[in-house]
Amino acid sequence: MKVLVPVKRVIDYNVKVRVKADQSGVELANVKMSMNPFDEISVEEAIRLKEAGTATEIVVVTVGPQQAQETLRTALAMGADRGIHVKTDAEVEPLAVAKILKAVAGEESPELIIVGKQAIDDDSNQTGQMLSALLGWPQGTFASKVEKDGDKLNVTREIDGGLQTIKLNLPAVVTSDLRLNEPRYASLPNIMKAKKKPIDAKTPEDYSVDLTPRLQVQKVTEPAERQAGIKVETAAELVAKLKEAGVIG
């Protein structure tokens, strides 16, 4: 089974993001960038499927600027087999990414695409679902467990108040949730070997995808600052204060 894993280069999750003065977005200059953590989980899952003998080849794909190649290299160092870099400096919205991925899937014919449930920069949580719709493939979103079952795939989903296990026909799109696995560190020897793994250079034009934005960002603002807390003496006082603040009825 061939597995396709899209990966995105985002601000490192440890970085304290700062909003640009003109509120048009967040500061990206000299900020540490890394692979989207949910994509790391997807790559890890693909590697585990390969180690279990279920997956045969792992192809990672990214849409983004030149530096996004580093993200592909990280995935290759973790254990993916080859990469595809769809190079663009433009802002790409989830729909455009989904269209590019659809075209890549058309060329690669994977049996499974594992997409992060969302990217931690814009938190859209749309790409996987859109991709599944465009391809007309079944989708298993927010996966916390993935298991091949004959020619089907069992996906356990994290839903409100519990877990739901569904059986999907293949090919399928799965989006990974936090508890799917704990991604490994790329080993140092593998980081060095990743340099030799192939990366195909492509452009959105190669797939005839129009990247023109359909959304417009109005304004980006900092979260409200946390107010200083107070200390209470008794539980009764706590309840009274919470009622006062309108937190409980």
Binding site: E70, Y185, A186, L188, P189, K195
Partner: protein, 384 residues
């Protein structure tokens, strides 16, 4: 061969992340239990840390000295006890084989040392031979196809876990000083070797040292490092010279961590209605810490690059070890001062670093020994 910058950055950021996510949270526990957890050692193996200095053809990463120092700047940002886990395989335990070993010795040991499957220790110091290592008394007497070893080695790092020792012993008891000394690759699991109880130490709990006692321990003659007797002391000195840059880089790494901790604390801790970081006397301490750390870092990188380029850096390596180890002592002292009472109580971990870094001025050549080497070389250079 040096790595391209992108690969090097990936390597370093992976180590930084491993240090932040896996090692730093365990610092207090390791100190408390006097043990680095087995799963962490396993993760270090999987990461490839044991093999950073071992040539690629034997399964290591074959990093240049500069790259090794950059790795240690990162690994130095946590308790030095973690570094000690890989320290002897990367440095003093393995480099004798890399530098002067025969092909069959390299083939036998280096692949296992690179993966961490085997642990190497370096056994030079003895109860009566510390700074004056050339006076060592342990003997290795040829007996047919074997050598018979007798003597006691002291304060040997990782001896309790060692699979083998790079052992310096006197093959010619009639020749005093270094000329009578040979180096051996001595397996640890043979009759006649007793490993002492780990010593109780001032710091770096989790890293262990102990005596290694040889009583008529018999090893095949093929365990002699290289082909001829009498070269062991030279090998030991070459290994230590290289090790000085490694230790200097660790010192710079720890100083970097202490600087960060102190800077953060100074920005947060309020006295007299404002952060103590606003006080110029506190800033003066931070400025000294920063300046000295920067100086040590630059020295280490300069010496490492020159070594990679084939220059003789014996003097510079001693300069680095002398300055960096003393520097991190001063930095740790100032960190305690900036933290005030919190620097003295255990919860903040600053006093632990203060104790941990004290050894850097003592092992692999004390500060005085470094001064002796530097001074002697300077005089030699300018004497006609």
């Amino acid at each position: 061969m040096a790595l391209d910058l992108e690969t090097r950055d990936q390597l370093l950021s992976t180590i930084r992340r491993f240090v932040e996510e896996r090692l730093i949270p365990l610092e207090a526990q390791v100190s408390e239990n006097d043990e680095v957890p087995a799963e962490i050692v396993q993760e270090m193996r999987e990461l490839g840390l044991f093999g950073i200095s071992i040539p690629v053809e034997y399964g290591g990463l074959g990093l240049t000295m500069e790259e090794e120092c950059l790795v240690l700047f990162e690994l130095g940002r946590t308790s030095p006890a973690f570094r000690s886990v890989i320290g002897t395989n990367v440095g003093i335990g393995s480099q004798g084989i890399v530098m002067d070993g025969r092909q069959d010795q390299k083939d036998e040991w280096l692949p296992k040392l690179a993966t961490g499957e085997a642990i190497a220790s370096f056994a030079l110091t003895e109860p009566e031979a510390g700074s004056d290592a050339a006076s060592l008394r342990t003997t290795a007497i040829r007996d047919g196809d074997d050598y018979i070893i007798n003597g006691t080695k002291r304060f040997i790092t990782n001896a309790t876990k060692a699979s083998m020792f790079t052992l310096m012993a006197r093959t010619d008891p009639d020749t005093p000083g270094g000329k009578g000394v040979s180096a051996f690759i001595c397996p640890a699991d043979i009759p006649g070797i007793t490993i002492g109880k780990p010593e109780k130490k001032m710091g770096q709990q989790g890293a262990h040292i102990s005596d290694v006692i040889f009583e008529d321990a018999r090893i095949p003659a093929s365990c002699l490092l290289g082909d001829v007797e009498g070269k062991g002391f030279i090998t030991a000195m070459k290994v230590l010279e290289r090790g000085r840059l490694h230790i200097s880089a660790v010192c710079a790494g720890v100083a970097d961590r202490l600087l960060e901790e102190s800077g953060r604390y100074a920005a947060e801790r309020k006295q007299f209605g404002a952060p103590i970081g606003n006080l110029q006397l506190v800033q003066a301490m931070l400025a000294d810490m920063k300046t000295e750390h920067y100086a040590a870092r630059c020295m280490v990188l300069d010496a490492a690059r020159r070594r990679d380029a084939g220059e003789d850096v014996a003097t510079e390596s001693s300069c680095c070890k002398y300055f960096a180890s003393e520097m991190v002592g001063r930095v740790a002292d100032k960190a305690v001062q900036i933290f005030g009472g919190a620097g003295y109580v255990a919860d903040y971990g600053i006093e632990r670093f203060y104790r941990d870094v004290r050894i850097f001025r003592i092992y692999e050549g004390t500060s005085q020994v470094q001064q002796v080497i530097i001074g002697r070389n300077v005089v030699k250079e300018y004497a006609e």
